[in-house]
Amino acid sequence: MNQSRRQVMQLGAGATVVGLVASAGLLPVTAQAADAPGWDAKLFEAKTLDEIAKALGASATESTEVSIVGPDIAENGAVVPVGIKSTAAGVSMLGIVVQKNPTALVATFSTKDGAEPNFATRIKMAQTSHVYAVAKAGDKLLFSKKEIKVTLGGCGG
């Protein structure tokens, strides 16, 4: 975690303190005083899978030990059901990345406390894109990808 942010929170994050830190250029651009503790604004600003891997101290490697489940075509890009899984050893975190979204990282799920590397959720896709399931195993960010087409359905249901 960014050391300066931890200090800000320990000081009680009064508005003036945050302002000072911000003007000193230490806070990431989109970080806000009310951000949840530990939420990495920089990571969520990353534009590509490689940027995300780098920010996590890993290198992106395609792997058959990660899988992603989702529709081939989503009639509504605002709600796309996605499932991600990993069978690799030493995985500490799983994540979802949408290459063509304004910011690529959708979510991370930590498996350090016992959660199985198997998650499902619904995500927003700005347009047809490759969607990646990622799994951090040491200095490798294993990934598997699937193209999900986003198109407009017909009338209204």
């Binding site: 959660a115 959720t121 995500i123």
Partner: protein
């Protein structure tokens, strides 16, 4: 005031599977209201799930999680009667916690 989360936790094989539906607008900060003004970003950033008060899962989310987020996760070592709690924190400093019992 958002609705309480709808949660179900069942034993499936050797794992407890939890399904949660949260009530949250998940505004990206990129959309405009009918009056032309940008709707400010308002989204869940952190999700903390516990089994009997012990952390099982922490998630970090961005703006691309769909409105009214759905989450399915599972863990080993749980059993019927265990108490599952899910807490979310958003970018405005708001928070909500709900619990359910593993059936």
């Amino acid at each position: 005031m958002p609705n309480p989360m709808r949660m179900r936790a069942n034993v499936e094989g050797d794992a407890v599977v939890v399904r949660v539906l949260m009530s949250h607008p998940e505004d990206t900060g990129l959309m405009k209201a009918p009056d032309g003004k940008i709707i400010p970003a308002h989204f869940i950033q952190s999700v903390i799930c516990k089994n009997n008060d012990k952390n099982v899962l922490t998630c970090d989310w961005g703006t691309a999680i769909s409105k009214n987020p759905f989450l399915e996760f599972r863990f080993k070592g749980g059993k019927s009667g265990d108490k599952i709690s899910v807490t979310w924190l958003d970018n405005k400093g708001e928070t909500q916690t709900d619990t359910t019992t593993v059936s």
